[in-house]
Subunit: 210 residues, 2 copies
DNA sequence: CAATTTTTTGACCGATTGGACAAACGTTAG
DNA sequence: CTAACGTTTGTCCAATCGGTCAAAAAATTG
């Protein structure tokens, strides 16, 4: 039965699909979609090309699965931005979470950046739908903070962009960051230095003048 | 004579090379290096593939020429950062210049981002050499400002990274920015909104507490 | 055990790609 | 005119690509 792509019913299918996705993340994130070949992914996954194509019928299916999974991970930190705690603490927490993601999931960040750079042909609907809705919602939260004087008046959309840009920079432009910092300053400590600087910049830049 | 690639001696050669580079910038910046084909570039340049290969013998030669030219443009704004004027005015000027470049030369920005994302295989030497030297030099300038109390104490390297990240974001992630802002807020005014926000963020974030 | 189903692979195919090449075309100088 | 040189293109090629397929090898089931 089931002549088409197996849908992860058996244990072995789930495992192999996982192995393929892990390998594909590695390959796609460093070469881009068009720059990656099925053979590369198959080799990284330790199987033959036809075997890989037994689990994912097309190259694009792998990419699509990867993107869908990625986007959930990607939106999580922003979803946590809540109206509950102290505004400045919330913002600091969001910056810290995003920077940790850049540090711990750089391949996911680069995969996402690759997609956006090429015009986001495969996830445009998601950007205009789910992402925009979520951002609109959080913008309202931030606007509330600004109205109540807990955060200085500023453009909330561009505040979010600035947080995205500065944190993801350490994943997407990692090579450049390390090259510029040099061997001594470019070690693992760079993320702590970045965290300190970004906290200072955003906290001082957004703290209401007392 | 001159059986090899013409070196732009004649007027027509210089012109055609220019046309090709312009077309290649368009194609490379939207598809990446491996995602672009010589045929695409040739068509965009309005000539046949063999004709294009008469001016640039290999696909990589076009890319290399483009990258070298790009890097000069790219470093220019930072070179202008001088010890002459008022520190805060200098920083504001640098941010403004970088944002203008993101607005006026988005293709160059995306080409550069593409290269860095893939590990900068072709320009690593430049990053560790010319770029690092320039940054080190400007870091010293900024350190001087901080010592004299004109700018608050902070990590100068990560300050530069933050400026790069926030400004280039509007070129590299333009699709996402426009999708999130929506049709009404995503018009041409977005660069002015961004400029206002970034000035506020960096100025307030770096102004010494009086 | 045998029968059946799932998993794996070698061989192959058509399309696309970067690039080579010689012939044709155009232009200019004598 | 002709000779020489610069420019353009049609044709071709080898390599690589995404993907197919039939058949072998494992695994599962009765």
């Amino acid at each position: 039965m089931e002549g088409s792509t197996p849908r992860g019913r058996t244990r072995i299918q789930k495992e192999k699909r996982e192995v393929i996705l892990e390998a594909a993340l590695e390959v796609f994130s460093t070469n881009g979609f068009r720059g990656s070949t099925i053979d590369q992914i198959a080799e990284a996954a330790g199987m033959s090309k036809p075997n890989l194509l037994y689990y994912f019928r097309r190259k694009e299916d792998i990419h699509e699965t990867l993107m869908h999974r990625l986007l959930e991970t990607w939106l999580a930190p922003l979803k946590e931005l809540d109206n509950i705690g102290d505004p400045m603490t919330e913002l600091r927490g969001y910056i810290r979470r995003k920077l940790e993601m850049a540090r711990d999931f750089p391949r996911e960040s680069r995969l996402f950046a690759n997609e956006i750079l090429q015009g986001a042909p495969r996830i445009m609907a998601m950007l205009e739908g789910e992402l925009k809705t979520l951002v609109d919602e959080k913008v309202d939260v931030i606007k509330g903070w600004m109205r109540s004087g807990k955060v200085v008046q500023a453009d909330p959309w561009h505040l979010i962009f600035a947080i995205w840009a500065t944190t993801q920079h350490y994943a997407d432009f990692d090579v450049q960051v390390r090259a510029v910092l040099g061997p001594d300053r470019g070690g693992e400590g760079r993320f702590e230095d970045a965290a300190r600087f970004l906290e200072q910049l955003f906290i001082e830049g957004l703290r209401p003048k007392s």
